[in-house]
C-alpha cells in the first residue's frame, strides 16, 4: 500500500540489495567484503523463482534476506526488501520476528540437522502456527497431517509422533516442507532442498515439493546449483555469479536460449566429446568374484563382484550411497583385503593386503580422491606433493625432479609458478589438478578416481573431466571412475558397472548398458537423473507410475 509502484499481485520486490560481511583474516585487520552487489528481483504471488549459481554466488544469502536474516555476521547494508507492500528492513527485530514463520518460511538443505533432535516432529511442524496464533493446536495438527498426506509420507497420521532420528533423510526433507507449508505462508525459501539426497530419492521429493507448491499457491524462491533441477520447478530462473546478476528470464528462455555466455556454459556443461572405445581382448585389471566386509562384520559390502578394465580405457562404476562403489576401490588398492575373490593385474594376482604388494604394483595403481583439500598434506608445497612419487618410485633428485614437476604442472594446465604454493592457497579445481599430477607422476597404468568431481562446481568439474580425458589420450592410462552422477558417466565412460547394495546389477560397454531393455534398478536410476528439459519431472513420474501399475 505504502509503495505506489507496487504492482497488484506482486509479493516480493527486492531492489538494489547489497549484502556485506566482515571477515577476520587471522593476523590481519578485519575486512568488509561484499557478498551481494545491487541485485534486484521481483516475485509474483504463487510463482516460483529459481536462484542458480555456483558456490559463492550469494544465492542463499539473497534467499535469506527475504526473511531479514543473515548468517554469521552477514549484514544487509543497502537496498529494499519489499514484501507484501512494505519494506521489511525498516521493521526492526520485532518486525522480522512477526514475518518469519508466518509470511515467509524456510526449507534447509539438511533437514536432518535442521530439526531439533529433542522434540517430536509434530511439535516442530506446528510450532510456528501456534507461535503466530494463526491456528489452534488441533487445526494446525489437522493441517499438518493433510500436508504429510499430500507429500506422500508414509503413515501420515502417526509420523508426527516420531523423533527426527527415527525418520529417513528423504522423508525428513518432506516433513520440513510440510513444516514450511503448515503456517500457510505467502513465500517459502527452498535452500538446496534435494542436494543432499540420493538421485532416486531426489525425484520423489522434488515431485512432492512441486505438487505442494502448485496446490497451495504459495510463492517460492528455489535455490540450487543444479540447473536441471530448477528447470523442473521454476517459472523463472535467475543466474547469479560472485554476488552479481548474470541473467534473469523465463525457464524456457534460460535453458533453451541463454543470452549470456556464462549461462550457456552452465546449460551445456555435460556435453563432452568422447568416442566410446570397444573393450580389447585382454583386460589389464580384473576383479574376480570379490566379496568384502568391514572389520569381520556379517554385512557384506561387496558381494561377488567381477569387473574388467582394459588398457587406456575408462570403466565407470555408478551407484548411490551405500552401493559399495567406494569399497570396491578400497578392495582393489588393497586397503580392504577381500574375504573372497582376487584382483588380477597384468596377468598376475595382486596381494590382498597393501603390505603384501611390491612397490612396483603400488606404482601402477594410483588414486585420486573426492576431497582434494584433505588428500594433500597441508604442510607440503605443491612441488613436494608432486615431486615425492618421482623421488620415491624413480629415485629422481634435484634438477631432474624439478624439471619433471614443471612438465607435470604444464600437463595439468597450471604453470611453474605453483611449485612453491601450499594447498590452502589453491582453488578447489587447482587442488584436484595437483592431485591428478601427483598420480600421473608415478606413470601408472590405472588411476582410480573416487568421486573426483562431486565436490566441485559444475564448470570446474567439467574442466577436470576434460583434462582427464586429454591425459588419457596422451598417457594411455586407464581409469576406474567411481561416481554417483550418471551425467558424468555418459560423458566419459567406455564401459559401465551399475552397483546396488554391494552387487553389480548391470555391466558392459557404455552403449550396451545405456540401451534398453533395462533391469529394474538401472531403469530407476536412469529415469531419476534430472534432464534439462521442461516437463521432464512429470514424464519421469508418469513413466514410473505406469511401470508400477504394469508390475
Amino acid at each position: 500500500m505504502a509503495d505506489t509502484k507496487a504492482k497488484p499481485g506482486l509479493l516480493l520486490d527486492i531492489r538494489n540489495l547489497r549484502i556485506e560481511a566482515t571477515v577476520y583474516p587471522p593476523g590481519e585487520a578485519p575486512k568488509t567484503i561484499t557478498l551481494v552487489h545491487d541485485v534486484s528481483l521481483t516475485l509474483e504471488k504463487g510463482k516460483v523463482l529459481g536462484l542458480i549459481g555456483e558456490s559463492g554466488a550469494g544465492k542463499s544469502t539473497i534467499g535469506l534476506s527475504s526473511m531479514g536474516y543473515g548468517r554469521g555476521g552477514v549484514r544487509i547494508t543497502g537496498g529494499e526488501v519489499i514484501l507484501n507492500g512494505r519494506d521489511i528492513l525498516k521493521g526492526g527485530k520485532e518486525g522480522f520476528r512477526k514475518l518469519r514463520g508466518r509470511e515467509v518460511c524456510y526449507v534447509a538443505q539438511s533437514a536432518a540437522a535442521a530439526f531439533n533432535p529433542a522434540h517430536r516432529l509434530m511439535d516442530q511442524v506446528v510450532e510456528a502456527s501456534l507461535l503466530h496464533g494463526t491456528a489452534t493446536r488441533a487445526e494446525a495438527e489437522k493441517r499438518a497431517v493433510a500436508l504429510f498426506k499430500k507429500l506422500s509420507l508414509p503413515n501420515p497420521e502417526t509420523i508426527g509422533e516420531r523423533f527426527p532420528h527415527q525418520v529417513s533423510g528423504g522423508q525428513l526433507q518432506r516433513v520440513m516442507t510440510a513444516m514450511a507449508l503448515c503456517s500457510e505462508p505467502d513465500l517459502i525459501v527452498f535452500d538446496e532442498p534435494t542436494t543432499a539426497l540420493d538421485v532416486t530419492t531426489q525425484i520423489d521429493v522434488l515431485a512432492a515439493i512441486k505438487d505442494a507448491i502448485r496446490d497451495t499457491h504459495v510463492a517460492a524462491l528455489y535455490i540450487t546449483h543444479d540447473l536441471a533441477v530448477v528447470a523442473q520447478v521454476s517459472d523463472e530462473i535467475m543466474v547469479l555469479r560472485h554476488g552479481r546478476l548474470v541473467e534473469w528470464g523465463g525457464t524456457r528462455q534460460i535453458i533453451k536460449e541463454p543470452r549470456q555466455e556464462y549461462t550457456n556454459a552452465l546449460v551445456s556443461v555435460h556435453e563432452i566429446e568422447h568416442r566410446e572405445q570397444q573393450p580389447g581382448t585382454t583386460p589389464m585389471l580384473s576383479v574376480k568374484n570379490v566379496t568384502a566386509a568391514y572389520g569381520g562384520s556379517h554385512v557384506k559390502v561387496l558381494k561377488n563382484v567381477s569387473v574388467d578394465i582394459f588398457p587406456g580405457q575408462t570403466l565407470a562404476v555408478v551407484g548411490e550411497s551405500g552401493s559399495g562403489k567406494s569399497t570396491l576401490a578400497r578392495a582393489i588398492t588393497g586397503l580392504l583385503p577381500p574375504e573372497q575373490g582376487s584382483v588380477v593385474f597384468d596377468g598376475r594376482t595382486l596381494g590382498n593386503k597393501l603390505s603384501d604388494r611390491p612397490k612396483e604394483d603400488l606404482r601402477q595403481l594410483q588414486m585420486i580422491y573426492q576431497m582434494a583439500d584433505v588428500a594433500m598434506n597441508p604442510r607440503q608445497t605443491v612441488g613436494t606433493i608432486i615431486g615425492r612419487p618421482l623421488e620415491f618410485y624413480f629415485g629422481m633428485k634435484g634438477r631432474e625432479r624439478d624439471k619433471r614437476v614443471a612438465e607435470l604442472l604444464d600437463e595439468i594446465e597450471m604453470g611453474k609458478g605453483f611449485v612453491d604454493r601450499y594447498p590452502a592457497e589453491l582453488s578447489g579445481g587447482q587442488k584436484q589438478r595437483v592431485c591428478i599430477a601427483r598420480s600421473l607422476a608415478a606413470k601408472p597404468k590405472l588411476i582410480i578416481c573416487d568421486e573426483v568431481t562431486s565436490a566441485l562446481d559444475p564448470l570446474v568439474a567439467n574442466g577436470i573431466l576434460k583434462l582427464l580425458l586429454n591425459l588419457q589420450q596422451v598417457e594411455k592410462v586407464a581409469y576406474l571412475f567411481i561416481t554417483h552422477d550418471l551425467a558424468t558417466v555418459k560423458s566419459i565412460a567406455d564401459s559401465i558397472a551399475v552397483m546396488y547394495r554391494g552387487e553389480v546389477v548391470r555391466y558392459g560397454s557404455k552403449s550396451k548398458v545405456l540401451t534398453p531393455p533395462f533391469d529394474a534398478y538401472t531403469d530407476l536410476l536412469l529415469s531419476s537423473v534430472p534432464e534439462m528439459e521442461i516437463g521432464w519431472l512429470e514424464k519421469a513420474i508418469a513413466g514410473r507410475r505406469m511401470e508400477s501399475a504394469g508390475n
Binding site: P26, G27, L335, L354, R363, V374, A375, P389, A424
Partner: protein, 274 residues
C-alpha cells in the same frame, strides 16, 4: 615473518614475563643479593630498602629465596614436562599409527591411570618413595604423560585417517615417513600449545606437592615450599606466603598467554608459509 607490532599486547606481556622468569632462573646466583640459606636478619621483617621483599620465617632474605626458588621451580617443571611430553607423545603417536593390541593395551592402561586423580595417585606413590628430586620428576612426568598420550593419540588418529596419509600408504611409504613427514608437521600446533599447558600444570602440581610438604625438601625450596614455610605468618597479617604464591600465578598466566598466542599463530597459517 615475525613482526613485533603484530603481536597482541597480552601475548607480548606473556612473552616478556616468561623471558624474565627464565632469565632469573638461569642467572639466579648472579642476581640474588644474598645466599639461598643465608640468615641475614630477624624473622619476617617487613619490606625495606635492604630487603625488598622482607625476610622469611627464619630471617632469610625473601627476594633471594624467590630468585633461587624460580630456579628450582622451573628446573623441576621443565624436566617433568620434557619427560611427560616425550613419553606421552611417542607412545601416543605409535599407538595411533600401529593400532591393534599395542594401542588397546596402552590406551586401557592410560584410562586406568586417569581414573584416579593425579594428585591422589601422586600422594599414594610418594608415601613409599624416597623424597628426592629424581623421584619427584619421575612421578610428575609419568603421571602427567597420560594426558599428553591422550591428546597426541587423538590428534594422530584424526590425521591418520586423512586422505593424504592414505595416499602416502598407498604409495608404499614406510612408517618413518608417515609419522615424521605426514603426521608430525600437522600435529605440531596443537601439541605446542599443549606443551605450554602441561608446563603450567607441572608448575602447579609441583607447588601443590611442596606446599603439602611432599615436594622439594628443605633447606632448598621451590615457590610452593616457600608458601608452606611462611604460611603461619598469614594469621598475624604477614603476607610473606602470598609473594611466592603470586609468583606461581604470574608464571602460569604468562605461559598461558604465550601458549594461546602460539596456538593462534600456528593455526592461522593453515599450512601456509612459515
Amino acid at each position: 615473518m615475525l613482526d613485533i607490532r603484530r603481536i597482541p599486547i597480552a601475548s607480548l606481556i606473556g612473552i616478556v614475563l616468561t623471558t624474565l622468569f627464565v632469565l632469573t632462573a638461569v642467572f639466579a646466583p648472579l642476581i640474588a643479593p644474598h645466599g639461598n640459606a643465608e640468615i641475614i636478619g630477624d624473622v619476617w621483617e617487613p619490606m625495606s630498602a635492604n630487603h625488598w621483599l622482607g625476610t622469611d620465617n627464619l630471617g632469610r632474605d625473601l627476594l633471594s629465596r624467590m630468585i633461587y626458588g624460580a630456579r628450582i621451580t622451573l628446573f623441576i617443571a621443565v624436566l617433568a614436562t620434557a619427560l611427560s611430553f616425550s613419553l606421552g607423545a611417542i607412545l601416543g603417536f605409535s599407538a595411533a599409527v600401529f593400532g591393534g593390541w599395542y594401542d588397546t593395551l596402552l590406551s586401557r592402561l592410560v584410562d586406568l591411570l586417569m581414573s584416579i586423580p593425579t594428585l591422589i595417585m601422586g600422594l599414594v606413590v610418594l608415601s613409599v618413595l624416597p623424597s628426592n628430586l629424581v623421584t619427584l620428576i619421575l612421578v610428575m612426568g609419568i603421571l602427567d604423560s597420560t594426558r599428553v598420550y591422550r591428546l597426541s593419540r587423538a590428534v594422530a588418529v584424526d590425521i591418520n585417517v586423512m586422505d593424504y596419509v592414505e595416499a602416502a600408504k598407498l604409495r608404499g611409504e614406510g612408517s618413518g615417513w608417515i609419522i615424521f613427514r605426514e603426521i608430525l608437521p600437522n600435529a605440531l600446533s596443537p601439541l605446542v600449545s599443549e606443551l605450554g599447558l602441561r608446563f603450567i600444570y607441572a608448575v602447579l602440581f609441583l607447588s601443590t606437592l611442596s606446599f603439602l610438604g611432599l615436594g622439594v625438601q628443605p633447606p632448598d625450596a621451590d615457590w610452593g615450599g616457600m608458601v608452606k614455610e611462611n604460611k603461619d605468618g598469614i594469621v598475624f597479617g604477614i603476607p610473606a606466603a602470598l609473594i611466592p604464591a603470586a609468583a606461581i600465578a604470574a608464571l602460569a598466566i604468562s605461559v598461558n598467554l604465550v601458549a594461546d598466542w602460539v596456538l593462534n599463530r600456528t593455526t592461522s597459517l593453515k599450512g601456509g608459509r612459515g
